[in-house]
Each structure stands twice: as C-alpha cells, then as structure tokens.
C-alpha cells in the first residue's frame, strides 16, 4: 500500500565522490503523513542522501520515483520544489544582509508586484506564529542581526510556508542543534501537527531522544548504506547506538595511563557545567564526538591561552598547532618545504638578527628523515608535494618546534594510511619523551591511540573516557545522548 502512496521513493541510489563511495544501494521512501527519523554517525551518508533528495546533487545510479515517474535523470532543485519538497540545511542558508521578509521572498518567486513586502511579511509571520508562538521576530529585522536560534526559526518557518505549490515533505537536518529547549519542543510538536494533516517530515538529529519521541519510523545509516529500518516502537536508545556503529572487542585495560593522570598537569580547560578538560605531561588526549560540537573551539581556546591572548584555560607551557584544513590554515603555498618546516622554530635559529640557514636546513633535514617526507630537495616549493606529504610537513613544523604541547585539529583528513601509520608512531615516540598532544579527530580508529578521550556535545565535554573505556559504543553513546552515557 505504501508503494502507491509514497511521496518519494529511492531505489538503489548510489553516489561517489572520486574514490569515496558516499552512498551505496540506498533504498528509502517517505509516505504521506509520516515523520521519518534518520540517524547515523559522521560520514554515514545522511547529508549526501538529503542533497540528492533536494536536487543539489544528482545520483550516479538508481531511481528517484515520484509516484510512478523516475526523475533521477532530470532531477534538480526546481523539480524538488515543484514536487513540494523543502529542505532546512544544517548550515544556515539565509541571506544575512536581507530582512526576514526579504528572505522569504527569495524562495517564493510568486511574491512580487506592488505590495510584495506586505505579502512576504504576512506569510513569514504567519508561519513563525504557527510554529514558534512568541518568537519575537519582526519581518523587517535584518537576519544577520538576529541570534543564531532566531535565524534557525526563520529558516524553518520559511521551509514550511507555502504559496503556490503545497509543501508535502520537509527535510530537517539537525533543526534543533541551535534552538533552545522550549523552541525545540515547539518545533517537534508542530512536526506532529504537520504530519497529522498529511504532510511528511524527514528528521535528521543526533538527539536520539527527539527521534524516538517524534518519528514514526527510523532509518539508521552507516558507511553510506541503510543498515536498519523499522517502526520507532521497535527501537530504543541502546539498539540505535548499536546499529550506528559496530561494537568492537574491548582492548585489555591498560591502567598505566590512568595512574599517570595524577602529576604534571599541563592543561586545564574548565567546562561551564561539564567536565574539565585536563592534559598531563606525556599524554595523548583525544577529542571526540560529532563534528562541529566545539572541539576546534576548545583547541583554539587552548592555543590562545598558550599565547597569553585569552585566559579561559590554564596552560603552563607553549603550544604548537597542527591545522586540519591545510589549504586554508596550514601551508604557506609560496614557500619552500624547508621554510614551511622551520617557521614555527625560527626564534631558535636567529643569529645576529638573521636566520642561520645551516641550522634551518639541519632542522628540516632532521625531520625529513624522521617523518619521511618524500622529496629530493627541501628547497622545492611545498606545493610540489602530495597532500599526505604536505601534511607531514605540518607535523614536522609542530614537532620540530620547542613547544611541549601540540594541538591537532583533525590533522589526518585526506591522508593515506601509510602516512598515518608513520605519524602515529612518531606521536607515541614523542609522547614517551614527555610531549603532550591534544588531538581532535573524527575517525574512531585514531582514538585508540589516545590515553584519554573527551567526548564533546553542544560545545561541552560530556564524557571523559580513560583508554580502556574507549570503544565505539561508549563514544557514540556519549556523543548522541548525555543521559545514556551516565
């Protein structure tokens, strides 16, 4: 029966970006009047799936059915809109320089002519009132001057507002992440009312409580595929967490690290109401959790504290930083490999106001052999290296500096496995010699190299796991629901 009435149906959808298979053979449907919960860890393919549904990306393989029509070949943003499909993106997609009403006009081409301002203002205010009573947003307010929560409300209200084509399916990607509790409840109760009148919603959220409370059916994704799909009643928190990640055999407990966490503390970052982040001498501390939950901010706070520009954190020593996004924050593209390595240690190489070229070359050569940078000549431009080798240069820069603490912002993104193994070995080696590392990573496997792992959620540390408790299950549980971790 659902076959006939499904609003949209995906059959065997596949999508890859280069060598990365983002979606494989996904089959998925949404029926009218249904709220489908979509859960999965980072990189499970939720966003890709959503972008395909909203017409931003086109699938490589598979069918995209509206009724009996396969639109996969000629699907587009316009076609999605025509079929009554709307999307609230995780990163806000309003124009900050325009007013609330003007932003409504952007998605409603039919609002025009004399009096369009009043029409747009009425439309957006009506929907804001309907979804978030007491929102306190005026249609003339400039979006860029609104708080992030209010911007999110405008974006949600805009997605539900209809002019000519009725809205049949709204995709909400982490809609409550920037809303406070009261507004989140308003939204979820509105979703209930919306589905009662025949509308459908796809709800993507890492707040498993929300999904379990609001969804009629839950779809779990992992590694680009759907791994579980069932009525909500068949799920509980434990099963959701289990389906999202494979539970690995727990390593034998190594209590040595725990014992070491007593003396020589080099960093304390107090949590507002969470757990303080502490780092001890010679320790590798991992920062885990869903991407963008405050891990990078914590690293930047620590770095600023080490430079004395901010004092939210206590840090007793100098710190070096390894940037994750090497294109924008990492390499100096116009410089040689040698210069790129030595820049963090330049103070040690100055003699009579000039840089001692021999010392500089010595440092670079030392690290070339230790970390294995594949080049014939260190004077070559940095861009002559492959991505992985460029990343090695960034490691060499941080490790070659005298700083006893190294902060790493997901530095292994896009690095091949061989390089990774080399770097892991050096990190262990350096830690054994008394260096401390704070390592934000989105890869579960890398956390196994850490002595202690802090899990972030909503900008706070919600859980601290000593090495023997670092398992995928524990981390997932803490990243998705604080209540379940307790």
């Amino acid at each position: 029966m659902t076959d006939r009435s499904a609003i949209v149906r995906l059959n065997g959808i596949g999508k890859s970006f280069g060598a990365v298979q983002a979606l494989r053979d996904v089959t998925f449907h949404v029926a009218p009047g249904e709220c489908v919960g979509l859960v999965g860890h980072n990189g499970a393919g939720k966003s890709t799936l959503m972008n395909i549904l909203s017409g931003v990306l086109s699938p490589d393989t598979g069918e995209l059915l509206f009724g009996d029509q396969d639109l996969a070949a000629r699907y587009s943003v316009a076609a999605a809109k025509q079929n009554g499909l709307r999307c609230v993106y995780q990163e806000l997609s309003l124009c900050p320089n325009l007013s609330v009403a003007e932003n409504a006009r952007i998605t409603h081409p039919t609002i025009r002519g004399i009096g369009w301002r009043r029409k747009a203002a009425t439309l957006i205010t009506t929907w804001l009132d309907r979804i978030f009573p007491g929102h306190g947003i005026g249609p003339g307010d400039i979006v860029g001057e609104l708080s992030i929560a209010r911007r999110q409300m405008v974006e949600i209200a805009r997605a539900f507002s209809a002019t000519q084509t009725p809205v049949r399916l709204v995709i909400l990607d982490e809609p409550t992440s920037s809303l406070d509790k009261a507004s989140a409840d308003q939204l979820l109760s509105f979703v209930g009312r919306f589905t009662e009148t025949g509308g459908s919603v796809i709800l993507i959220s890492h707040m498993l409580g929300e999904i379990l409370d609001s969804a009629d059916r839950i779809v779990v994704m992992r590694d680009g595929g759907v791994v579980a799909e069932d009525a909500t009643a068949a799920f509980d928190r434990a099963r959701l967490v289990r389906e999202m990640g494979s539970v690995l055999a727990e390593d034998a407990a190594t209590p040595t690290a725990q014992a070491r966490r007593q003396t020589d503390r080099v960093i304390v970052l107090p949590g507002e109401n969470g757990i303080p982040l502490e780092v001890f001498k010679g320790e590798i501390v991992g920062l885990a959790g869903i991407g963008g939950q405050g891990q990078t901010d914590a690293l930047l706070t620590l770095f600023a504290a080490a430079n004395g520009t901010r004092n939210h954190a206590e840090i007793t020593t100098e710190a070096a930083f390894v940037a994750g996004d090497r294109q924008t924050d990492g390499v100096f593209p116009g410089w040689s490999i040698r210069r790129n390595i030595s820049i963090a240690s330049i103070r040690q190489m100055v003699q009579h106001w000039l840089i001692d070229a021999r010392k500089e070359l010595g440092l670079a050569q030392d690290w070339q052999t230790r970390i294995g940078i594949r080049t014939e000549d260190l004077s070559n431009p940095i861009l002559s290296l492959s991505g992985g080798n460029q990343q090695k240069v960034l490691f060499a820069r941080a490790l070659g500096s005298p700083a006893p603490v190294v902060l790493m912002d997901d530095p292994m993104r896009g690095v091949d496995i061989g390089t990774k193994q080399d770097v892991y070995a050096i990190l262990k080696d350096e830690a054994a010699q008394g260096r401390s590392f704070v390592w934000y990573t989105t890869e579960m496997d890398e956390l196994k190299h850490c002595d202690f792992v802090y899990v972030f959620r909503g900008g706070q540390v919600v859980s601290g796991l000593p090495r023997h408790q670092v398992t995928e299950a524990n981390i997932l549980r803490a990243s998705f629901d604080a209540a379940a971790a307790a």
Partner: protein
C-alpha cells in the same frame, strides 16, 4: 523617538548623512556665499558624475566583486560621447550600448570562469584606456549640445545638481532596496548558494549587476563631458578609487551584499566637496586626495566605534 534614533543600527545608517552635513556646515561657515543657488550649483556640479560612478561601483560591490577599471571605462565613454556621439549620434549610441553589453559580458566571464574580478577588471582598465586613446589621441572633442544644455539646466528654486542627485539616489534606492527583483540581486551578494538553491540564476544576477554598472558608467561619462564640454583619455582615471571610497563612505561594505544607494550618493558628494573645503581653507588643492583619505578614515573609525558598541549591547 530619540532613543530609537540612537540605536547602533540607525546611527550607522545616519552616519553618512551626518558626515555630509558636518562638511557642508563647515563650508557654509567658511564661505557663506556658497549658501546661494549659484554657489550650490558650482559646489555640487562635479558631484553628479562622481555620484553616477559611485552607484556603478556599488552594483559591482553588491555581488562581492570589485571594479578597478571603472575610471578608465568612464574616460572611454567620455571620449565616445565627445567624439562619435557628437559627430555621428547613431554610431555613438551604438558604441555606448556596446560598452554596457561588454560590461555584462565581463560579469558572465567572471562568474563562469570563477575569476577574481580584481584581476579581470585591472586587465580591462588597460583595454578601455587603449581604446580611449585610439578614439581621442589628444584632449578635445565637443559635448553634444543636448547633454551640455541638460547639465547646465537652471531650474527655478532648486539647483540642477541637487535635483539630479536626489533623483539618482531615489530611483536606485527603490529599484534595489524596495523592489522584489532587487531583493534577489542583493541576496546574491549575501549568500549566493542559498539564492541559487532557491532556483535563481547567479549568472543572470551577475550579468544584470555588471550591465547596470556599465550603464551608470556610461551615464557618468556623458555627465562629465556635459560639464567639461570636452574629453581626454585620462579624464576620469581617479574615479576608480573615488567610487570605491564613496560606496564605503556611504555605509556599504566590500562583501556580503551590504550596500546603500542613498548612502553611496551621499558618500560621493562628501568626497566631491572635500576639494572645495580645502580651497576655502586656502590650502593647496594638492592635498585634496589626502583630505579625502582623512575623511574616509574618520568616518570608518566612527563606524567601527558604533559597531563595537552594538556588539557590546
């Protein structure tokens, strides 16, 4: 009412007008005779082409680009106006229309090839200058009579430059800030991805905005020739930086589609008056560019202070 006027937002909006009023007050104080029909006419005459150039630059800044060729382009259109448009009006009109289309084409090129506008327009500035020299190798030419008589119009009561400036600011303000299509044009500067996701063509937006910049550049060149009666290939080179400064002075920003047409016109007038202000102070006019810079720094510093207080509250 007073409290509402003193919010950071309205202070920021009022700042350009307040700066202009302060400058005008200083000029009136130094030389009370400027406070007459004739005095204002003389004072504001040259502000008209600068204001047109500033509005042209504003269209470009609105879509997060920057035009470094505007001065050379206006020089070229001035040369065309003083030669072809005067001698063979049809050829002149076609050439000027071609200039506007060329600008729209530049917008398309910059968008499609994802080129930095600074590079493209810097390169084009030499092209425009080269063509201008070919058309008018030595200063000369003659303004078409109808432009000359338009620019020297003497309406009753209110001097022509004031009417022209108010009409210019008003029309562009309504078209860009109040109309429904204007919203899409500005939105493309604020968040192009979101505008594209809503089903609008960014290519079209860029072509329209560059085309409008070309149109107002042509108008600036024609107005300039109407005032000076002849042209030369370097006549408007300093308009490039003047126009950018005018937009910023008027409350616009380099990125994010934050612009104000009325503000841009006010900014242009403020910069144009800075020169007169200096001569009334009996200072060497060579200091003019320095004085314009000083005004720019002063007003931007005030804006930063206002923004800081806004961030605190």
């Amino acid at each position: 009412m007073i409290a509402r006027l003193l919010t950071p937002h309205s202070l920021r909006t009022l700042l350009p007008a307040v700066s202009l009023a302060a400058l005008l007050a200083a000029i009136f104080y130094l030389q009370p005779r400027t406070m007459s029909y004739f005095g204002l006419n003389l004072l504001l005459n040259l502000a008209v082409p600068i204001a047109l150039a500033t509005v042209a630059q504003m269209f470009i800044l609105c879509v997060n680009d920057l035009d470094l060729s505007l001065g050379a382009f206006i020089s070229l259109t001035a040369c065309i106006t003083a030669t072809w448009l005067h001698d063979t009006p049809l050829l002149g009109a076609l050439a000027l229309a071609g200039c506007v289309l060329a600008y729209a084409g530049l917008g398309a090129l910059i968008h499609l090839r994802n080129l930095p506008s600074i590079v493209v327009t810097l390169g084009m500035s030499f092209v425009w200058m080269g063509i201008a020299v070919l058309i008018l190798p030595t200063p000369g030419g003659k303004a078409p009579d109808w432009i000359r008589s338009l620019m020297t119009l003497k309406p009753a009561l209110i001097p022509f430059p004031i009417i022209a400036l108010v009409v210019l600011g008003g029309i562009v303000q309504i078209a860009l800030m109040r109309s429904a299509p204007g919203v899409v044009l500005r939105g493309a500067g604020g968040n192009p991805q979101s505008v594209a996701r809503a089903g609008w063509s960014i290519l079209r937006v860029k072509m329209i905005m560059f085309g409008l910049a070309g149109l107002f550049g042509v108008l600036a060149g024609m107005a300039l020739v109407g005032l000076t009666t002849s042209a030369d290939a370097n006549i408007a080179l300093r308009y490039t930086l003047l126009s950018i400064a005018g937009v910023i002075l008027g409350g616009g920003e380099f990125t994010g589609g934050r612009i104000s047409p009325i503000g841009a016109v006010i900014g242009a007038v403020t910069l144009a008056l800075a020169g007169s202000f200096l001569s009334f102070l009996r200072l060497n006019p060579d200091w003019q560019i320095g004085a314009q810079g000083a005004i720019l720094i002063l007003v931007l510093a005030l804006r930063v202070i206002i923004n800081r207080t806004a961030a605190k509250s």
